[in-house]
Structure formats: structure tokens, C-alpha cells
Point group: C2
């Protein structure tokens, strides 16, 4: 008897279910009703909703039975955990599927890295879907190990669990009809494509939508969200550790209803998840802000499945995969029980980590002198940090010049920043300044620097910057805080320089220690290393930095540090 014919026998009541979830209030995503009914499960699939018997009965009396949560857009690498450890973290929180864009590992390890992540996530209870990274490099100003070609993308999109083309971050390229970007959009498999268009409005947004891109998770304001919905784009409401857009966008749910809106986490710190939950935390927040529990549940389950065409997920109904949560209430959204394919979540086996994905940091050795910036006193372009945002401002500042060199100066709110190419040991370094960090001494370094993941270092002395970079390179990547030639906290990330191979608790402790150490050195924002990670991302406004120099994202070009054209070092 095939699974299907057995499922039908269970549905008819002619055969007992494997498991019956009995007596709960079952959420119907289609009518937004609560049905008092049993859920019959056969071979991991829901056979019927009604009155059923089964070999095993789970008592759901007084509980709410809802579909498992689905993260509509996220980057596994941001969580810094191997995918098995990520599964151990989020499954108990009710996240039963995620749609990941693996562009971080793609920048470091090419399409091989993506194929490895696909293989590594194959047998987890957590269902991990992928989108093929559309922009490696994110722009011509970034230096990954190698670019992904259209051929790489085609091969990826032919694998099962790869749903389409990931966030098309080169939105200026798309809007302006750059042939290289249009070619990607017209690949077989790229009919389904996620967007990424921060700040884009008006005719630019119309052009972006006209290209066939029908989602965006970069809306920061209700006005941006409204225009995206009107243009036919799905609004993926993002609540990342750095970019928290939920509260700003919830009014749109109240105004228009939840259609074509879904939740996503984008980039989440492991400690943030451990503390605040995952998608379930977004549901809780939404309800706390006046969204009905029914609408909030849709945003967290059925709608992400709808957007991505995951027709077997997102509903508690006959024929859907039996990914169910039993919730004790509609306030906290912490499940009592999580069923994945009809089975309680179990020990997640460890994913093997081959040697070739480790120790990926290759630099030309650096010394303090490599971070010196000669200056004739001309005003300098300075990256202005905005707390808890991935966007920056472009400031014009007087440099502090000592001995013919522009230096970091806490009193002047100027820290040095550099990006060191780390894939091919070219020795290429981009130099700049940031304002708004609060840093007073030492240096912070990270091999997590979107999207090319070269080494980003922010520091108050050239010596500490050089020491930090050398230390990180020697250890295969990670994040570290140094002061006066000493490592005061660190979180090693030996897998591609992006992921830890340690358990969650260790990573959370290390991550907290590095944050605390950064705060001890004066950093004021909540998430120093997440902030730094986005300073190298050359597709988010306004002023960013890569190993090739400062990038004016609004003009989409490399710009010199000095505003006067004399003596600047690029």
C-alpha cells in the first residue's frame, strides 16, 4: 500500500492514524477559524480533520493547534551556528522550516559551499530551503573568493530544495537594466525571485517590480511597505537583530489585512534567538501590538509558504505535511509540543564538517603601517552609524591629523575602519573612518563582513588593528576584541570564517563576551559586530567600505576618503 492510498484509508476512517492530535482547537488558515476537531496523521502527512482514531493519541485539550512557523528569508550564517545546532535552537521555538539565502558562504567558498550546506541540511527535522545567491559579489566593489556565474546559479536552481533566485541586491543594476543582472533574472528557475531594494520608491520601484521581482524585506517604514504592496510585491516584514522593522510595518497589517505579508528574520544573532525567540517572537510582538492572533499566525506560517510556493506546508489541513505546534495560549506563542512530519522533535544528529570548509582565511601579513592614513587636513568622508540600522549616513568631517596622518580620536568621535582582503592574500586594504561607534580604545575585528566576508576592523590605534587582523587570520576567522596587543574576548568561527562548530551555549557566551568587551571599550550600540558586519555591504546606503575603498552607495561608485583631491590614500 503506498503512502497515498494509506493516507486516504486513514482519511476515510478505514484505517487507524499513526497519530491523532485530539481535542484541540485547530487553526484553519483558510477561513481564519478555530475548529474543534482531531488531526489525523499518516506517514507524516495530515490525513484528515474531524473525529479520528489512531495508534497514538496526543491530548490537545485546551490547547491551540497551529501550523509550524516558516522563516520567509534568512541567512543561516548570521546565526553563526552549524545548521544542525541552529535546528536544535529553533525547532523547540516552533520554526519548522526556513528559506535561507546562503550567499555568505557562497562568497567564501563559491557554489561548492552552497552545495555543502544543501547536503548538510538534508536530513534534519528542520526543513531548510534555499534560494540561489543572486549577487556574489554583491557589487563590483566587493571581492569574494570568486564570483558565482549564471551557470553556477542554474545548477543550484536545479537542485531540490532550491526554490529560486535569492534577494536581488544589485537593485540599481536591475533598475538600470544592466545586462548581467537581467541575464540572471531570465535563467530557468529564476521565475521565483526575492527582492532587496532599500529605500527604492516611485519609478525606480516600478522598474524593479517590472523586472518580475515580487518581494522585498528591506522596507523600513509603512510608506515604503505600502508602496511595495501596491506594486504587487510581497512585504516580508523583517525583524533582524540589527534591523527591527516589525513595529513600523505592523500598521499595514491592520490597514490592509495580512494578505501578501509574511515574517522573516534575515540576520539573527544566536543570543537574540535564545533570548527573544525566533518567528514565534515576531508573532508574540505582533499580537502585543494589536494584530489578531489569527492574522499573526498567517504571517508566520501559511503566508511564507504561499510566497515560496511550498504547497505542502503552512496549514493544518488534509494533504499538508504534519508540521504542527501545540500552543498553551495565544499570548506567548511558545509551543508545548512541536510535531515535524508528525513526529515530536528528536535529537538532531551532528553534521560532519569536512576539512575544506575550515581555515579559509588567507591574508598577506599586515603591520601597523598598513593602516596609516596620510592626510593634508582635507575634510574626510566619514561613515555615520545609525543605531540598530544597517543603513549609514555619509558625513563630512574634519580629520584629526597627527604627524601628517589622519588618526582615530575618541573626543572627535572618529574611529578608523579598514577592510582587508582575505581570500586570495592580495594585500588589498580599504581605509576609512566611522563616527557614532563610541569606541575609545583597542580594536574590533571580524571575518563576518557582508557580503564578501573580508576582514573588517574598527580601531583606535593602527597597532591594535594590525594585531587584531593577524590574530584572526591565524585562527581561521571569527570575531575578536583586542586592546594593546592582547585579545580580551573572542568567538572563533572556523567554518568559512562565518560559523562556529561549538554548541549554542558556547557561541552565545563567546558572543556575549565579545559584545561586553566592545562595550567596555566604549562601543555604544547594542550589537557592535552585527553593525560592523554591514559596514562592508556595498548595496545598502549610504556610505560603506570594502577592500577596494569607500563606496558611495547612492551614487554607486568608489569615492576617495578625502573630499579635497590632494593626498588622499585609496
Amino acid at each position: 500500500m503506498t503512502d497515498l492510498s494509506r493516507r486516504l484509508a486513514v482519511a476515510r476512517g478505514d484505517a487507524p492514524a499513526d497519530t491523532v492530535v485530539r481535542g484541540g482547537r485547530v487553526f484553519c488558515v483558510f477561513t481564519r477559524e478555530w475548529l474543534d476537531a482531531d488531526v489525523a496523521i499518516a506517514d507524516g502527512v495530515i490525513a484528515g480533520i474531524g473525529a479520528y482514531d489512531g495508534a497514538e493519541v496526543i491530548d490537545a485539550t485546551g490547547r491551540f493547534v497551529v501550523p509550524g512557523f516558516i522563516d520567509a528569508h534568512m541567512h543561516l550564517e548570521s546565526v553563526k551556528l552549524l545548521v544542525d545546532e541552529f535546528a536544535r535552537l529553533v525547532l523547540p521555538l516552533g520554526t519548522t522550516a526556513v528559506v535561507a539565502d546562503p550567499h555568505e558562504i557562497a562568497n567564501v567558498l563559491g557554489s561548492d559551499g552552497v552545495h555543502w550546506l544543501l547536503d548538510a541540511s538534508e536530513d534534519l527535522q528542520l526543513e531548510v530551503y534555499f534560494m540561489a545567491p543572486s549577487c556574489v559579489p554583491a557589487s563590483q566593489f566587493e571581492s569574494p573568493r570568486r564570483a558565482l556565474t549564471p551557470g553556477d546559479l542554474e545548477a543550484l536552481m536545479r537542485r531540490s530544495r532550491v526554490l529560486g533566485l535569492a534577494e536581488m541586491m544589485n537593485f540599481p543594476g536591475v533598475v538600470n537594466g544592466l545586462p548581467s543582472e537581467l541575464e540572471k533574472l531570465q535563467l530557468e528557475g529564476a521565475e521565483h525571485v526575492d527582492g532587496h531594494a532599500p529605500g527604492l520608491l516611485g519609478k525606480g520601484l516600478q522598474a524593479y517590480a517590472a523586472s518580475g521581482i515580487r518581494s522585498d524585506h528591506e522596507a523600513l517604514t509603512a510608506e515604503e511597505g505600502r508602496e511595495r504592496l501596491r506594486a504587487g510585491m510581497w512585504l516580508l516584514i523583517r525583524e533582524a537583530s540589527m534591523a527591527r522593522n516589525l513595529q513600523a510595518l505592523l500598521p499595514l497589517v491592520l490597514e490592509y489585512g495580512p494578505d501578501r505579508i509574511a515574517f522573516c528574520t534575515d540576520d539573527r544573532d544566536p543570543d537574540d534567538i535564545a533570548e527573544n525567540g525566533h518567528i514565534n517572537g515576531m508573532v508574540r510582538e505582533a499580537v502585543a501590538h494589536g494584530v489578531t492572533p489569527e492574522d499573526a499566525l498567517l504571517l508566520a506560517s501559511f503566508h511564507p509558504a504561499q510566497w515560496h510556493g511550498l504547497d505542502h506546508l503552512g496549514a493544518v489541513a488534509a494533504g499538508y505535511q504534519a508540521d504542527l505546534l501545540l500552543l498553551p495560549d495565544l499570548v506567548g506563542f511558545v509551543p508545548d509540543l512541536v510535531l515535524k512530519r508528525g513526529r515530536p522533535i528528536a535529537d538532531v544528529p551532528s553534521v560532519p564538517v569536512p576539512e575544506w570548509v575550515r581555515q579559509t582565511v588567507r591574508i598577506k601579513p599586515v603591520a601597523a603601517a598598513d593602516f596609516a592614513i596620510p592626510s593634508d587636513g582635507a575634510r574626510i568622508r566619514t561613515i555615520g552609524l545609525i543605531e540598530d540600522q544597517v543603513v549609514t549616513t555619509c558625513l563630512e568631517r574634519e580629520p584629526v591629523v597627527v604627524g601628517g596622518q589622519a588618526v582615530a580620536d575618541a573626543a572627535a568621535d572618529l574611529a578608523k575602519i579598514a577592510v582587508v582582503e582575505r581570500h586570495l592574500a592580495t594585500g588589498r586594504i580599504g581605509h576609512g573612518f566611522v563616527s557614532g561607534s563610541g569606541l575609545r580604545s583597542g580594536a574590533l575585528v571580524s571575518s563576518v563582513a557582508h557580503d564578501a566576508h573580508n576582514l573588517v576592523v574598527v580601531g583606535m590605534t593602527d597597532e591594535d588593528m594590525a594585531f587584531a587582523v593577524q590574530h584572526l587570520a591565524a585562527n581561521g576567522g571569527g570575531i575578536a576584541v583586542v586592546e594593546r596587543g592582547r585579545v580580551i574576548a573572542e568567538c572563533p568561527l572556523p567554518v568559512a570564517g562565518l560559523l562556529s562548530d561549538a554548541p549554542l551555549a558556547d557561541v552565545v557566551a563567546q558572543s556575549a563576551a565579545t559584545n561586553a568587551a566592545a562595550h567596555d571599550l566604549g562601543w555604544t550600540g547594542a550589537s557592535p559586530f552585527l553593525t560592523m558586519a554591514f559596514l562592508a555591504l556595498s548595496v545598502i546606503p549610504s556610505l560603506k567600505i570594502t577592500d577596494r575603498g569607500l563606496v558611495d552607495v547612492d551614487r554607486f561608485e568608489i569615492v576617495p576618503l578625502a573630499l579635497a583631491a590632494t593626498n588622499e590614500k585609496q
Copy 2:
């Protein structure tokens, strides 16, 4: 410059549009708002919504700009027109796309007939999509020319414009897990499948949904509709010429909103369309019954596109095909102007009709004696007609016996019915009686007899029945009314015995004449030939008739005419 790069240039405002629809109120299907904006069109696709210039400007001041209507489920053959003539009929009414199930022609001409319809509809302005006929024959009790095999279906589903598997009419087979039916559901391409489950509720409906079938257009009552929505099935609200379910189901739109509900016409007479409109008539009716114009428009455009995954249709937004209607008001829903792929509808070229699709009726010659029914006076199973419904009741009646034969008798409300096999000239005839027709004399005959399209004849004398069948066979099919050996009205349908090759006006006139003639002979229902067409369909309850005899659809078996087991003729 490719179409896409030109479209983006138009969207940006860097190049003039081909056409701009200016100054109208543009319906946004995503937010259900009316936007005061221009619509810019480039190469048949909407480039942007905003303020635009173009080579041609269409003034839409004071008018409503809405997406073209889409029929979610229909049978081209029911309209009796060649597809080009059908396009001429419905395009001006605002129907710009239809999803057709060509199972009628498939019963007569096999998959060759379907491939021909696909080819014949390729270059029309009307966009004709198909579903591969899942049930040819509709059941084992019917005799098409040949059965469609899984291989036939696979080949069909690989053609562009074939979206999936058409209505799975053998719902008892699916529910009971019949391997032949499950095999079809598991074919590549059959992930998208339409349902057909009249009267199915409870665990049977759960089993049907558990098989992956996620639509139904057979709900007659709000309760049936509600259960389908709750089970995760799209509710396709049907307003066919015979089965008018709109009013009964509209309360669900008011209760739940329009999500996962769409309009379809299923089987429409040409005169019905000419008189009452097509999908636009359903929109008008819905609004007249209290549905908001915005919700009604969704049911008629965006939602059919959503159900069928037609991602380029159903919305007036950048990147969507420019299928637009300009409506003078939100009451009548008769468009002032229809744009298809950005162009006003034009003369539709004639589709060539090859000789092999004509003259398909092959019978073994019949005489009056072939319609005689010996009787010992035992009570007989009688088909009870229900006006304007495709379902029938199963009555038990006393026969009127004359000279040892059960005969038709107007006073007793009994007419004779027979189905004559007409594909392979086997001479096989099924016999029965109907009650509720009102017929007093003569005979009505038709080669349109779902789904096998053998010849169905209802008459008051054996002589007229034989004459009617012989006449129709000699003329290659059609519908006709005869009395005392004379044809008093007819509508020839030489193409597969299903379609006319005449213009609409002729077909409407012929059809009206046959209806009038049938009414002159006493028939009381509004649509005698549509009623007759469904009397042979062995998958709609309760008592039907095929060339193999009476079919008890509820028990799903052939049953004898006589209730006593003696002397019945089968």
C-alpha cells in the same frame, strides 16, 4: 534592446511607453484600493503605474481600470462555438483568459483532439489555457471513442498552456484509493489538479483533499462551500447555464472575504453568454447581491490567476501582462475598452478546421424496434429531472404498459430516454425513462451527451426516437427536435459532434429555435438540451444513463431498469 530592458527604461521614465492609459482609477488587486494613476505599457506588459508618457495615450478619465477577467474553469465545447468565434464573443465582455478542460473533445477524438484545440487556440487574443482531461472515460460506465492513458496525460501536461490535471471527476475512485486514479494524481505535472466532488462531505471530502486536490466547482450550498474552504480547497463558484450556484455561495464571500474563491462558468450556452454576459455577468450579479465591487473583481481576475499559478495575469501592476478593461461604472461591468497584451481587441482570425475533426458520428443503423422496452409491469427506476440542476433524483414509478411494452406517456409524466453508442458503431443502446420533462410528443436528440458524447435521445414514440438518431448520425452530429418523422428545428454541430462551424448569431438562432421547438413539444425546463447533455454523465448523482444502461451514481454501479428482476431489458 530586449523587451525586458526596454520595459525597465519605460518604467524608469527614460523611454516613452507604447501606450499610456491616462487619468483613470486603477484597481490595485493587492490592497483593494483605487489608485489615481497612469498605466504605462511596453511590448504588451505593464511597465509602471504612476505618471507616464507614451506614443499613444488612451484617455481613461472617469473610468475604472481593472484587470481582464479570467474564467477559472470552463469547457469550450459547451459553448458550441469554434474557439475563434468564442473569442469574438467573450473578449468584448472583458474575458481575456480562460482555463479550459477539453474533456468533451477528448472523449470524441482522443488526445489528438486536445492537441488540435491547443494548436487552434494558439494565436488568438483570448488566452486559452488547458487542463489535461483526467477522466476519459468519466467512469467505467461510459464509452468514449477511446480512453486517455497516463501517457496521453503526461504528453499533454508537458505542453505549454497546459497547467495541470483537469477536474478529477471520479471522486469515488480517488476517495477509495483506486490505483488507476492515484496513478494519474502522481504524474509529473499533476501537482496542480482541479476537483469535482458534488455532494461530498465529511471524511470523504477529507480523503479527497488529502489526495492533493485543492479546488472544487461543484459546491451547491453554502454549507458545502464552507466545508471545502475549511478543507483547504479553492471554492470555484460556478454559474453555468444549467447549474447556477452564484447566489447560494455568495454568502461565503461576505462571511470569509474573497480569499481562495474564484469565478467560473463551467458549461455555458452561447445564447446565455450573448444575453447575460460571461464572467462580467457574474461580477455584476455578485455586486447586485451585496459583494463589494473590489471583492467581486478579485474573484473574477486575480484569484483565478492565483489558483492556476498564472503569475503574469490578473493584476494591473508592473510586470503583469497588459490585459486591461476600462469600465464606465461598477454596476454593469461592461467594458468600454478591452486591451489584450496592451492592444485593443481586433478582428480574430478564423481557425482552420481540418477534415478529420468533422463527421465523427458512426452508428449501427437503428429502427423503432431498437427503442422498444418489454415490460411485465414491474416498477421501473426513473430519472427525476430537477430544473436548472445537473443532479437528478432516482424515482420508482409504475410503468405504462401497452402490448407488453413500457411506453412513454405524457399523462403519467414519463418520457423514454436512450443513449446510442456513436463512436465505433457497436449498436449498443441504453434504455430508460425520465420524469419531469413535460414532453408530450416527438423526440429530442443530441450528440452532446457528457462525457462520452454518444447520442442521447428523449422521446414520446419509438419511431421519432429512431428517426431523430438516424437524422443526427447522417449529419455528423448536433441537436435536433423531431416530430412525426419531420425535423422541426436543429443546430448542426459538425465538429466532433460538439461544435458548430457557424457564426455566433446562427448558432444562437439555431439553439433558440431548438429550445423553442422543444418547449412547443411540452418540455418545461429552461434548457432542454443542456439538461439532456448531463443525463448521460455517470459521475453526477443520482440516476443517470449511458449506452451501457442506467447508472446509480450513489452506489456507482449499473442498475436494471425494472425493480423486479423479471423481464427487464438491459
